[in-house]
Amino acid sequence: MVSSNGMLAIDARDVEKTFRSGWFGRRQTQALRGVSLTVARGSIVGVLGPNGAGKTTLLSILATLLTPDRGRVLVLGHDVVREAAVLRRRLNMASGRPSFLWSLRVGEIIAFYGRLYGLSGARLRRRVDALIDLCELGPYRRVPYSDLSTGLKQRVALAKSLVNEPELLFLDEPTLGLDPDVSVRVREHIARLRREQGMTIVLTTHYMREADELCDEIAFIKAGRILSRGTPGELKRQIRLGEVIALRLDPPTVAWLAEAPGVLRCVEADGWVECTVDEAEKRLPELLRALHNDGVVIRNVQVREPELEEVFVELAK
């Protein structure tokens, strides 16, 4: 089956998944409750949500590791259940908690998966060399997997996930537990994969900065449902968190500020007064004028949009 829309890498409709456990499967956990998601080819989409929201379940279904109970899922134009074998050649996955065979060395792990994807001889050697260079694993090529640090294990997972040059890459918490400098390089690499190879990437992350920086679109999932979806900017506007006007004043506190028109709330922190307002463009001149008229000296002013983290917290409530 080929997708009616060739521009979509993923076209999932009303996907449901329930896990059953205990005697006779009496304990049921509804992991996905009618999730619909479309992902355009060549885009990076983040799936965010609190623990247990259904992110990994959704990714696993899209990657053919799990079969959905209900719904229709087309990935790269193929049905994930009926055409999984064809699909597996064209996608790959890496997770932030990777595990591979403990005695195999870094080069052997990448070569093993390379062979499964049909690489051999000089082509396989070149590919392994290139991935080892790319993921900065050169000094560890002959080190057994069990002797690697967490960060190095994640780099091995990333190298393995690129061995077949996938059209669609799933990254489950790709920078979990990594040092900040390594995280930055991983993020740069993810962005480069899309830019240079046109790879479609779907990732889950708990790091909002990562999602803000990398993702064209974000789907926020909670309790098995997609609650909100859009670009990071759209999400911030959708949630109506308001914008923040941060002021450094002399005297440092002004009693009437929280009651001013358009001000939703005010908090004081580190010598700053942070006023969340409904619309900064309109409220900033009004506030500055009122403060000036009241004889308050304005030493510094900053205006910022709410962080994606605040959107996350708001949606997760």
Binding site: S60, L65, L104, R115, S120
Partner: protein, 264 residues
């Protein structure tokens, strides 16, 4: 999938299992320690019981067959067990790999390892207990070994299916399953001494026929007509059934989420 890719996937699994095996000190016990202990203890028992050379050969053939099957079936089970232990099962099944690649690739390693065990044990049997492995001839020996390898393949694939079906809890099957063969297939005695109902089960096991055919060269009356053909036919049937069960177990694991639970 092209033939090249088919062979490459089998080779990938073969190489992986061989590398893992060569780096695990505990595999030494599987390969040498227990088989040697088995042949020595059973061989010495034949001395104590003052068995005739033919009777001693009868028992030693069974002992060696058991070790060969045990080593080979464990290697086949490693196709899944290694990934279950390392929690990397999902990577394996995310790749375009079929169960035929897994079972064939690991079976090839199993054949090499268990053949090494066979050579070692027959030399030991010859040196310590005058056991003549080549008395039945090369063809009979080759057929007997093929029977052992096929039985091991079927048992190993069945163990893979059980592990994929029940998770880590079923790991014990990998070590216990071969003992069932020991009781039923007439490793140390002819099937005719079993009660009728048990003998009927024994007649459904391919190894029973391969043992019967091989022992007939040591002067024992064959209990079955065309035992080799029957053994091969049963092996083929069970190989198909075991693979079907393994495939069904993987599909179920994808449905229930067990595949993910057994992974990272």
């Amino acid at each position: 999938m092209s033939w090249r890719n088919e062979l490459l996937a089998v080779w990938a699994v073969t190489l992986r299992n061989a590398l893992m095996g060569s780096r695990n000190v505990f595999f030494f016990f599987e390969l040498l320690f227990w088989p040697i202990v088995g042949v020595l203890s059973i061989g010495l028992m034949t001395r104590f019981l003052e068995l005739t050379p033919a009777q001693a050969s009868f028992v030693l053939v069974g002992t060696i067959a058991l070790s060969v099957i045990n080593v080979c079936q464990l290697e086949v089970a490693y196709a899944v067990l290694l990934d279950v232990w390392s929690k990397s099962l999902k990577h394996q099944f995310l790749a375009p790999i079929g169960i035929r690649h897994l079972t064939l690739g690991s079976w090839l390693v199993g054949i090499v390892r268990s053949f090494a065990v066979f050579v070692l044990l027959t030399v030991l049997g010859w040196w310590a207990f005058d056991f003549e492995v080549l008395r039945p001839g090369w063809l009979a020996l080759g057929t007997f070994l093929l029977g052992c390898f096929l039985t091991a393949w079927v048992v190993g694939v069945a163990v893979c299916a059980l592990i994929t079906l029940f998770g880590n809890r079923a790991e014990a099957f990998a070590w216990a399953s071969v003992n069932l063969v020991l009781v039923l297939a007439g490793i140390y005695y002819p099937v005719s001494v079993l009660p009728d109902s048990i003998a009927a089960i024994a007649r459904a096991i391919p190894l029973t026929y391969f043992l019967d055919a091989y022992r007939s060269y040591y002067g024992f009356q064959s209990e079955f007509a065309a035992p080799v053909a029957t053994g091969l036919a049963l092996s083929a049937l069970y190989a198909v059934l075991a693979h079907w069960a393994f495939l069904a177990a993987i599909q179920r694991a994808r449905r229930t989420g067990l595949l993910l639970k057994m992974s990272e």
